[in-house]
Symmetry: C2
Subunit: 211 residues, 2 copies
DNA sequence: TGCAAAATTTCAATGCATGAAAATCATATA
DNA sequence: TATATGATTTTCATGCATTGAAATTTTGCA
């Protein structure tokens, strides 16, 4: 490939790319707002697309489904979690690593990379409220646990597959149910964190410690 | 209500009811067979309905959705699990009760109430293979855990809500991930049970016991 | 400016799901 | 046995998510 003398090196981010990011963001914001106002099922893709000034068909070149628009950054978060597993401190036990990752994950939950803090909180509310979104979240949570179990085995080769899977599943399962079961109560991010920490501690100590 | 002299007391099970059960069963069997042969997404409701000799619309007076036909008896299984919690043996600890329920649940997994054993195994394969069905299963699993956490609190009033939720979530989360993560391997019912038992044991002992 | 690639729009089709009205069927009873 | 009644099924019509393909527009760049 040759470059003309007038070519501007814009770091790979030309008008085309900027426009795509703007559209993507417009779709996410429109969707979150409409889902919040009218409910997930009552909002149509046509409405979302209209709000973002694109055709309905175009929506699907950005997201694979109506649910996906809410979880647009989850893949990146999963990678972060798996990476966090890799740089464990020396002497850190599997349980401690998992505890650390749970806490970091909760932080990310309220951290949108491109959106406002309000939208980040709105998303949590939506996922807890809308059955369709809850279902999608459960699928992704399971996927990320599978990934984490693999990462845990790599970090601790002495663990066998069942041990690694059981550890990850127990830790995230405990935290998930502790947070969800309390539902109905409006949960602030702090309350969520404190609940999660208690659930994690119980899992570390083992269920026999409850008797 | 009055009875004529020729009335037959059929125990509340007249032709109408028998016909409904037959149709229900025909729909479930047709659906399982077609899902297995062609895949879930490739099977249309029209095909299932045709196979069962009813109109497409009628399908929805038996099941709420295409996925639901696979889980038609799950509600009953959930009730069984919650009931199993209630009749705990004296001196049985929360952890032991959960272990017992996990084992019973695995038994029920391969027990269809109205269908053949082959269909019961077919269902497990389908749920593990088809993303749509996996998603549905996760939702129901979460629901049943919420129910179980409540039941656990009632059986052991000394537990607080977070402890009960964490215990149930940890136990089922560990077993679930241990079984699913090993996927790709064809799992016999026995292997599944043994994996589940190990995962449960780890959860009882606590993740600290892994370091 | 003008070409080529990328992105968007338009158009058509399929399949799930649901509501409402019309047609059938099972049941109890006169 | 004939029939009124209520339950069930079918028919018909509609909305919406999703997907493929062709036509059109936009952007990057020579």
């Amino acid at each position: 490939m040759q470059y003309s003398s007038v070519m501007v090196d814009n770091g790979g981010v030309g008008l085309r790319e900027r426009k795509k990011q703007r559209t993507r963001r417009a779709l996410v914001e429109a969707a979150l707002r409409l889902f919040d106002e009218k409910g997930f099922d009552e909002t149509t893709l046509a409405e979302i697309a209209a709000e973002a000034d694109v055709s309905t068909r175009t929506f699907f070149s950005y997201f694979a489904s109506k649910e996906d628009v809410v979880f647009y950054d989850s893949a990146r978060k999963m990678e972060l979690a798996a990476a966090a597993m890799a740089d464990r401190a020396p002497g850190e036990s599997p349980g401690d690593v998992l505890l650390r990752i749970v806490e970091e994950s909760l932080t990310w939950l309220t951290t949108y990379e491109e959106l406002t803090f309000e939208d980040a909180e709105l998303r949590i509310r939506l996922v807890l409220k809308e059955p369709t979104l809850r279902a999608r979240a459960l699928v992704m949570l399971l996927e990320s646990q599978t990934t984490l179990a693999r990462a845990l085995r790599e970090a601790y080769p002495e663990l066998d597959p069942v041990e690694a899977a059981a550890a990850v599943g127990a830790m995230f399962g405990a935290v998930k149910l502790a947070i969800v079961a309390d539902l109905g109560h409006d949960l602030s991010a702090e309350q969520m964190s404190s609940t999660a920490r208690r659930a994690a501690e119980i899992t570390l100590a083992g269920l026999r410690s409850l008797g």
